[in-house]
């Protein structure tokens, strides 16, 4: 009896060894570097909804975010930048063709290499929703389309003047929290994103994300219901406020990050101090499935790509023997075309 049992044990041990080596074979096949969260590309949608010279700071907010995501690797083809007004060439700008986000004016945000996709009066609620849901008219150029797929992580940053469940566009219309939630729901239905990070800097910003109910959306806003968001400081030479508080403190953290950084969103949120920011920032993570201390900042702000090492070459016909082959194959292969 004991012998039977010991034999059984030996068989089980051998079989389990076999299966584990089989697994190891599977895993060792694919070598390289892979992101957690399963995304393969990144998009950024940066929207400034305010018009007029005294809303200089909103344009500066958006351009600072633009500069950050570009620095961390997202290319212009994957960034949709919407600026409702052109403050750099405004007649009241003491330093024309520049936009600064700091009174010390170290860094010109509007220097070379800025690509604005929707400008001026093109920034409307309708265009914004059409761009998000993909229902653009057929003649829209590629730079104005959000060509994300089911493995895209999208950063959506909005700034401007807002209120209880609305955001004002151009001083003429508003987008409500319901419309935004609907747009994200349509995106989720059509699998146009893997994860969305929604960041909004306006008065009563946290109300804008209260109506979301699609999966994998992480949202953060600058102030609670009934609270205003304040600007950080004014540049007295230019004459207007140049940056908002909430964005300023976010940028302080992001300026210390580079492409290779492993800092997580938990670290970013940990630096939020309501006293410094002068309002209570909010975070909504109930729709987001990954724990925040495992989500890297570069998962949304950067463009860290998966990599797989190529070990094999595919044998092709040698150079010298090409000319004879081409005569025989042209006749037979013209009829077959592959539809991929």
């Amino acid at each position: 009896m004991a012998r039977v049992w010991s034999l059984l044990f030996i068989w089980i041990a051998i079989l389990s060894c076999y299966s584990s080596t089989a697994n190891a074979d599977q895993q060792s096949e694919v070598e390289g570097f892979f992101s957690q969260g399963g995304h393969t590309n990144n998009w950024a949608v940066l929207v400034c909804t305010s018009r007029f010279w005294f809303n200089y700071r909103h344009v500066a907010n958006t351009l600072s975010m633009y500069r950050t995501v570009k620095r961390l690797g997202i290319p212009d083809s994957n960034i949709i930048l919407m600026l409702a007004d052109d403050v750099s060439c405004n007649a009241r700008n003491k330093y024309p063709a520049t936009v600064y986000n700091n009174a010390a004016r170290f860094l010109d945000l509007y220097g070379d290499n800025v690509e604005v996709d929707y400008r001026g009066y093109e920034v409307t609620v309708e265009n914004f929703i059409r761009m998000l849901t993909g229902r653009v008219s057929p003649d829209t150029p590629r730079s104005k389309r959000l060509l994300s797929d089911d493995r895209s992580n999208i950063l959506v940053y909005m700034t401007g003047h807002g209120g209880d469940e609305f955001l004002k566009f151009q001083d003429a219309e508003e987008i409500s929290a319901y419309d935004l939630a609907d747009a994200f729901k349509q995106m989720s239905e059509k699998k146009r994103y893997n994860e969305i990070f929604f960041m909004i800097d306006t008065c009563q910003a946290n109300t804008m994300y209260s109506k979301f109910d699609s999966p994998n959306i992480l949202a953060t806003g600058s102030s609670e219901l009934g609270e205003s968001s304040f600007s950080h400081h004014t540049d007295y030479e230019i004459g207007v406020a140049v940056i908002d508080s909430y964005t300023y403190y976010n940028l302080e953290f992001l300026e210390n990050i580079d492409m290779t950084s492993n800092k997580t969103l938990q670290d970013l949120f940990g630096t939020y101090d309501p006293v410094q920011i002068s309002s209570h920032p909010g975070i909504r993570s109930d729709l987001f499935h990954r724990p925040l201390d495992k989500v890297k900042v570069t998962d949304f702000f950067g463009n860290v790509q998966n990599v797989e090492l190529t070990r094999y070459r595919y044998p092709l016909v040698e150079h010298d023997s090409w000319t004879e082959e081409v005569k025989t194959t042209t006749t037979t292969t013209t009829t077959t075309t592959i539809y991929f």
């Binding site: 074979d25 096949e29 070598e31 390289g32 570097f33 892979f34 399963g38 393969t40 590309n41 570009k70 620095r71 690797g73 997202i74 290319p75 212009d76 083809s77 994957n78 309708e126 929703i129 059409r130 849901t133 993909g134 229902r135 653009v136 150029p141 590629r142 389309r145 060509l147 797929d149 493995r151 409500s176 419309d179 609907d182 349509q186 239905e189 699998k191 290779t260 860290v304 790509q305 998966n306 990599v307 797989e308 090492l309 190529t310 070990r311 094999y312 070459r313 595919y314 092709l316 016909v317 040698e318 150079h319 090409w322 194959t329 037979t332 292969t333 077959t336 592959i338 539809y339 991929f340």
Partner: protein, 558 residues
Amino acid sequence: MSSNGLDASTRIVVAAFWFVVLLGVPFWWKTTEVYRASLPLAEIDTWQTWQASNKKLNKLVENSSNFICISAEICKLSLPTTFTIHLPSPWSYSPSELENQLHVIQRDLSTVEDESSCVNFPLILNGVPWEMPTSWRDNLEAIFSENKDAPTGTYHIYIGPSQLETPYEYSIIIGVHRSHILQMNDITPETIDGALRTLLPLIFLKDQDSLSQMACKGAESDKYDMNSIRTLKYSPRYQVTFSLMNNDPRGISVDWNIRDSMKSKLMQHYASLSMKPQFKNRADKPSYYYFNPEHLPHFVNSAEWNLASTISSYPTINLILYVPSPEETPLRIHDSKEQPLLTNAFLIPRWGGVVIKNPSKKALAEKQLNFTKKDLQPIMKIFVAQLRSLMGIPNINSMADKMPSTVNATFMSSPITGITTLEKDQLIRHRTVENMVNAIATLHSLQQLVTEIPKMVVLDHIALQVQQSLNALQLACDVLSQGKYTPALQYSIEAIELSEKAFFDPTMVSMLYFPDEHKYAIYMPLFVPISVPLVMALLKEVKNISKQRKEKRNLKVE
């Protein structure tokens, strides 16, 4: 008398006003309604259920709450494969014995009427005699070039005796076209039975698992599955961009004869790819002589390199040939075991690939590096390997490694076209099922949207596109069950394109949300001032009438 007349005319006036109001209300209701064409929602629902069967009702399938088994006349997805086994004549066994044997194998290997799967894979096996030429081993090419025009999904296996006593039970050579050669030690119905049962699922029917998973689980794929991360999604066209990157143009100038290389290496079978060579001069990157795998994700400096094209909105595949500057030559890539890679190349899933080519000492001395067609050839081999991975074609070397010890499998490669017919068949099947599943998912999303947002306008042409998409799906399914894969692929492409066109139609934007207070605020100033006098007049008239009736009754009683 005059008061009666006055009463009567008052009543007529009030009645006239009210008549106009009552006539107007349905007009107003109808004209402020959102136009919604009727969509075949029920049909979309039935397509959601792949597991249509005529047997039991209401059988819930595990892990997919969307798929409920109901008895519907929906076409069940069926992907038949036909094998013709060529056995050397004369046969030492009777044809009927062979036929019975083949029938048994056919029945066992076909997965038909399997309740847990929503896809059928019927198998058809035929045995035919083959006049084996005496020195057939010297002229394998002749055998491989037979049956080139056989339809998709059919395969011909020529069985011949093994040359010497090999340790392998079966030696199979998978040809480039539709003929394959299997060599066995002795050929009897029993050994043929064993061979087919081992080899067919291993080599030819390998994709059945992934296909049935894709069809049954809908469009939800495993998030972390490497194949789904790496393979590009279906698109009618792809744009392939070849870029030559030179890190230091002052140190060395580079050029390449890419047009000729492209024409000769990547050819007609990639018909829907449009090629565009690019020439770049500047690049920036961190300075290393060796790259570890963790450093590679930051290699491609997308922001500076301007790789995006403005020509089309189709997905782009970027194939980059990178020449390091003289200061950082030689530059190699280390794998996870710290060994340098022979190919010096890596692939970025769903994006493209990079090959690093170090300039030779001669080129460094001359400060000039010209890539001729011959130089580009080894690089093209790597690019083709990467392009195949991106398209979802499995690697032949890794497939050969996975064979059990009794089987010696040689996968022939196609040096001219870069893809063998077996791989092409698998790709066609995969894309057909993928397109159909995605088309159904898109139509389902459309249905969800239309039902959930009652204020969304649905125009006639959308209903038409939806109906056409459903028709194309039905045709694809019908034609698939007959084994005609190429028209099935075309129908599936039609289905998905129509469904996407309908879903992404620019008119499908819902009206913006207005809270109820807004609606009151708009209608009240219009209707309240008119309705107050009307209602008051009506009440007064009603009171008058009831008073008069009471008086009449009192008079009568008295």
